[in-house]
């Protein structure tokens, strides 16, 4: 049955606690959006400086790795949302299963990303590597942006996986019908998903048919 239905001592009731927790998480996520906003602004500036070179640099990216990772992360986000729904409807067993499935897909995402980085390294697109070679200074700038953006995102995926795993491991979280911990971990995971939703056209789709 549902547990943790009583609010922490500093809150009048559980609804107020839930709203305060979510509001705090969303304000934190707003700061994350501003952090990634700077990264997107760099891409925006590069594209406005030289649209043709941007499209050409993007055409070297691994479109199908990016597409697979988008599908994986969207599915993982759905599983995190399902975990919240399951916990809220007092179904802790399925809440745990959904969370672990979301974590599993997150690990697959990192695996695909690592393989993509390896192929980029073999192609000589890793800035600073001994075999690095770029056709122009702009292509190197784009590559710098690509590794900064996806590297920062991968760090956030790792953080999100830690949060989701913590929520999945805690019995009290799975049995909380207000889904406070699971809900906040899921919010973070959805933000990681939204950032990738915008990185996908920025990095991969721009040069898809070039």
């Amino acid at each position: 049955m549902a547990e943790q239905s009583r609010a922490e001592i500093q809150f009048h009731n559980i609804d107020r606690q839930r709203e305060a927790d979510r509001l705090g998480m969303l304000v934190f996520l707003a700061s994350e959006i501003m952090l990634f906003g700077g990264v997107f602004l760099a891409a925006f500036s590069l594209r406005m400086l030289s649209p043709d070179e941007y499209v050409s640099a993007s055409s070297h990216m691994k479109l199908w790795h990016g597409t697979a990772n988008t599908a994986i992360l969207l599915a993982s986000s759905m599983l995190a949302a399902l975990a919240v729904e399951m916990a809220s409807s007092s179904n802790p067993k399925w809440a745990g299963r959904c969370l672990w499935s979301a974590v599993g897909l997150g690990i697959v995402f990192l695996g695909v990303k690592a393989h993509e980085y390896y192929l980029d390294y073999l192609d000589g697109k890793l800035p600073g590597a001994a075999n690095a070679h770029f056709s122009s200074e702009f292509e190197q700038l784009f590559s710098n942006f690509y590794f900064t953006a996806t590297g920062l995102h991968a760090l956030h995926v790792t953080g999100g996986l830690a949060l989701l795993s913590t929520a999945a491991l805690r019995r009290s979280a799975r049995h909380d019908c207000h889904a406070i911990l699971i809900g906040n971990a899921a919010l973070y995971w959805h933000l990681v998903d939204i950032v990738w939703i915008f990185l996908y056209p920025t990095i991969y789709l721009a040069g898809a048919s070039a």
Binding site: R22, F44, T70, V84, L205
Partner: protein, 97 residues
């Protein structure tokens, strides 16, 4: 299966369909509209995630405002930066006169 679970599964499927649409659109000869289509579909996906997965549809005004605020500041940052880059050619044009 509850209505809530069904809703999330349908939204999840919708997101995958939008992904397929955006990949297909990127191979079409859309010319200057290509980024608009790519980012338009990205916005649609983000709105679905925010509304259904992040449960904005259930939230009150304060929580929605906290969410929208981040995007509002982001829009200001992009608008001011674009005003610089997009107007540089105007100044160059006057400099030649």
């Amino acid at each position: 299966m509850s209505a809530g679970v069904k809703r999330l599964l349908v939204v999840g499927l919708g997101l995958q369909v939008l992904l397929a649409a955006t990949v297909a659109a990127s191979f079409l000869p859309l010319g200057p509209f290509k980024p608009w289509v790519g980012y338009g579909i990205a916005v649609a996906k983000a709105v679905l995630v925010l509304w259904f997965f992040m449960e904005m549809r259930k939230e009150g005004g304060l929580v929605r405002l906290a969410t929208v605020a981040a995007f509002a500041w982001l829009a200001i940052m992009f608008a001011l930066t674009a005003s610089d880059y997009l107007s540089r050619s105007w100044i160059a044009a006057y400099a030649d006169v």
